[in-house]
Symmetry: D2
Subunit: 326 residues, 4 copies
């Protein structure tokens, strides 16, 4: 672990954090400029993620850039809005409506341009409404054709920006088409473009019953496709978006070990929803907690860890974790 | 099944149905009067549930009553708002803030008065923010003392209104104090008042890994505490609030059999969130689907069903279901 | 649906069905010949699956063939034993022990020979112990190299037998390497041989939070890889191996619709564990139940179903199901 | 934490650990005397749990007592066999067969006598087959009557032995009647005898989506019913019976804090299934790991912890955990 790890956070961390019951948000909504200033208060935070529409747009990009320059904060990546605007509610890239599909591709292209203007080399595409809720509600094969075609069009728009796909097994649909790390390989193989990648959201991996370290290793091994990392935690059933390490402490230790071993050099980005917490405090503590876990891994002999893993013995693995936490 | 079953629906069925991503709602927000008129369009719907603040308040009660009288629609019950206003975000009846706890009891009392004015005999108390998210975040024993004390104060306020508690294992907290049917018995036993009951939300039972029929039977058996019924469905991991019977068709058949057998004579109330569907259509189809299932049970010999249950043989149970669905 | 659907069952259906508590089995163990005779009593059963070691071996193959010829029963496929013998407990194709890995490949090759002798064109490879239980217990990348290499060796052994891989998210390990339909594509792509395929176990799909119809469609669409089908049901958390349709009735309707639409022409094979039920009765009822569901789909206009799916409207999907079940 | 904590383990820890695939066991079966000698090799292990039939019986009790005396090992408690013998497969205390129900009560009574002879004051009653798998397979109300009657008969047999009930949400049935901590209160209230209690199996709590600390506090608060503790871990979906703390490290810290605060003075008993591990090693490491967690809690100011809990602030809770693990 020689590289200095750089921390990122979604700007929504400092927003109102609504849910379906408290739809006005658990906190007052803030102007983007105020959110950015809040982000600056987080010790150790290097960069932020921006969501199109909510945080940035073609019209606002210069304005936002100025605010950023004034604060010294940079942007890690941009997320095209395929999940906030109600028009995507029955799907974006896989909508039954041709115009919506076209509009979704346009949204992604615009986000690529804005990313470039903000100095980013990556966008984070999360087709969160592309899926289904009920049986007999989706033409699975057609949807995949549309997904492949849509992503390919985006990739071909400009090859200086990497199109990183974020997978998730459910929410806001009960089933998302792009649910697992395995399906990302299927998609990227079919899309067959160089400027593709995958966003590993640790919480998404966990509540899809993946081991996040395993997913990271596979993404790296088969095509070096691990583009970005979202850190958060949950209780395995839902995307609770809690502070990372709060529940799956040991699995986070293992993930951080493997990220170093595979030479991941992207951001460590918080994707938490601090509904009932003050955003700055939650982000600050999250980074502290992650740094503690990183230090714990670093202080352990990497040869020892490698040796334990090689043997595959659970008792030795447990003893290793015990020593790490002692 | 001699009684005519009466259908109810939460008035939120006809609202915008927001979630944390589409916080402005999947549909345009409507005035309450408009929602009521939408409810009237649902064939077979007899009554509606009203949420305090969102649909009714002390100031609005006369106005709402007039709208209802004009339409002929009645109110099944009132839900005090312990879950919409952001002030409850860290708990209502179990808040660490004494004033919030007091305010929560006041809210419930007001809802009892309004229920009485609207001709209801029951309120639906769902302390949805009363729980915790993280380890070391709750004093479990103290919270239960507060819960017991709060509910008891509400019960004692006026004994002509039944205080029916709705349990749920999670959401919006990762853990709710009142998570399971078993814990309702613990609470009601400790509260020790006659005018208490339980709202069985079928989806809550399902994603708490309960069999809803079993929960209904237990609530009836131990003190006749089954006060109200919320119908919806999900995939066992989250409160998807889908149309009832869409996933757990067979378990719904069993539930409807037992509701008849125990002589449940309350409402059959829809508690669905038709995010991507038109509310009137979703409610109409839900009632049709439920009626189909009810008819399926009714057309089967009750003696035959009883006989199969008595034997406890899975193959016979399966053959019974097959004949029901043939 | 013009083809006559042929039913298969694992011969273990008629065995003792042990678990970790009742390790001697819920029923008396039977000789293989007796199990075969039991299978013959199941109305509508055409073929059986045999597990190496438990039901057939190089030494026994002639003897078993005679018993089969006497009864008229045929064999759908053979499963190499990578999951019964205790020697595989820390992995078969991905064991840390080179000799075990070699032995696993030998086991698969033998099963291919036996399959050929019994007139089958397919084997069912389930590497059930290939996975991990704890963090820091597996070298994920190395394991995948071994998995790819092992399967490739098997494929290359004889190309007249199809090597069909069965995926499962957990059990008997807490995590299996080959857990999801998506990972099967990753594996088969890397193996890169023609005589590969996938066994879709509906229960495995369900408790991995897949929609089985979607998985079937994807397997067909991307390379026509749907080789075999295991029918059973569960409550989404564990491989309960219940009679098919008992829980996920609607999802089974959807699956059967799609299997017909994609032209699946393999077996419909029961993979149930009737611990507390008489095996012949459980298999007989399972086939009856499946036939009822198949008839339900058949009696519905395929154009109507296609039309509903194309629109993607949940209310119409629900109405369709209602009409199917009415 | 002034009391010396005493560690116990189920004697099955040192047995073959079978499952449904490897029904002969992952290791060679051993004589009971050999298992006891293995238990003696576990550093820090004070006592063992014995299962009737498997480890002890009326005939064998003197023999076992001698072996124990020779080794210096004592017995923490006895488990009546309501889950190993195949005769219980469709229920023990709630069987539809009156003779089986009677036989189950006899089994419990015998275990009480044996417990007394072995110097124990408690038995661990786990009615693991008392439940159901399918819809329409159980008469829930009748089953509860039988459960109450059966446990009451056991309690009345001799009041010097405490009848401690172990709850579990599923396995080996898909649904157990006594699934949650809440239902234990319902049962014990109905049984209404002094010599009752509850066994809190941490893994059972976790995969029933309980927070084990909360369950412990409630069991203590409402009648001081926390009789015994089973330590193990899992991934929330199944009773994986892994080494404690391997997954839910933070929740274990919280549990150990609360056990001390409520003054729990029972055993800390391992209930793990080390399928692929050597039993002595797995038990030894488990105790070491638990001791590490206990020390971590002890080294933290109890006032500080209490203060954090009182405030209910997630960020402070997270900071507390971070300091504990640093």
């Amino acid at each position: 672990m020689k590289r200095r790890i750089q921390f990122s956070a979604g700007l929504h961390t400092f927003g109102p954090c609504a849910d379906r019951f408290v739809s006005s948000g658990y906190k007052e909504a803030e102007h983007v400029a105020r959110s950015i200033r809040m982000a600056c208060q987080v010790q150790g935070l290097d960069v932020v993620e921006l969501i199109m529409g909510a945080h940035v747009s073609t019209d606002m990009v210069n304005q936002i850039r100025k605010v950023l320059e004034n604060t010294g904060l940079r942007v890690s990546l941009v997320l095209p809005d395929l999940f906030v605007d109600r028009k995507w509610s029955r799907g974006s890239l896989t909508s039954v409506d041709k115009d919506i599909r076209k509009s979704a591709v346009e949204e992604v292209k615009q986000s690529m341009d804005i990313a470039a203007e903000l100095g980013c080399s990556i966008i984070n595409v999360w087709p969160g409404h592309d899926g289904f809720d009920y049986s007999f509600q989706a033409d699975y094969g057609l949807a995949w054709d549309q997904l492949i075609e849509g992503i390919r069009k985006c990739c071909d728009y400009r090859n200086d920006i990497q199109v990183a796909i974020e997978y998730k097994i459910k929410e806001p649909r009960t089933h998302l088409f792009l649910g697992t790390v395995g399906k990302c390989f299927l998609l990227l193989g079919a899309v067959n473009r160089k400027n593709t990648g995958v966003v590993l959201d640790v919480g998404h991996a966990l509540f899809g019953y993946e081991n996040a370290a395993e997913s990271a290793v596979l993404l790296d091994k088969f095509g070096r496709k691990l583009s970005h990392l979202h850190l958060n935690d949950n209780y395995r059933y839902w995307d609770d978006d809690m502070m990372p390490g709060s529940v799956h402490t040991v699995e986070y230790l293992e993930l951080f070990y493997w990220l170093d071993r595979i030479g991941y050099n992207g951001w460590y980005s918080l994707d938490i929803f601090p509904y009932r917490e003050e955003g700055v405090k939650a982000a600050t503590e999250s980074i502290r907690f992650v740094k503690m876990l990183l230090a714990t891994v670093k202080e352990t002999s990497q040869e020892k860890i490698q040796d334990v893993i090689r043997k595959g013995d659970a008792v030795e693995a447990m003893a290793l974790v015990r020593k790490m936490l002692s």
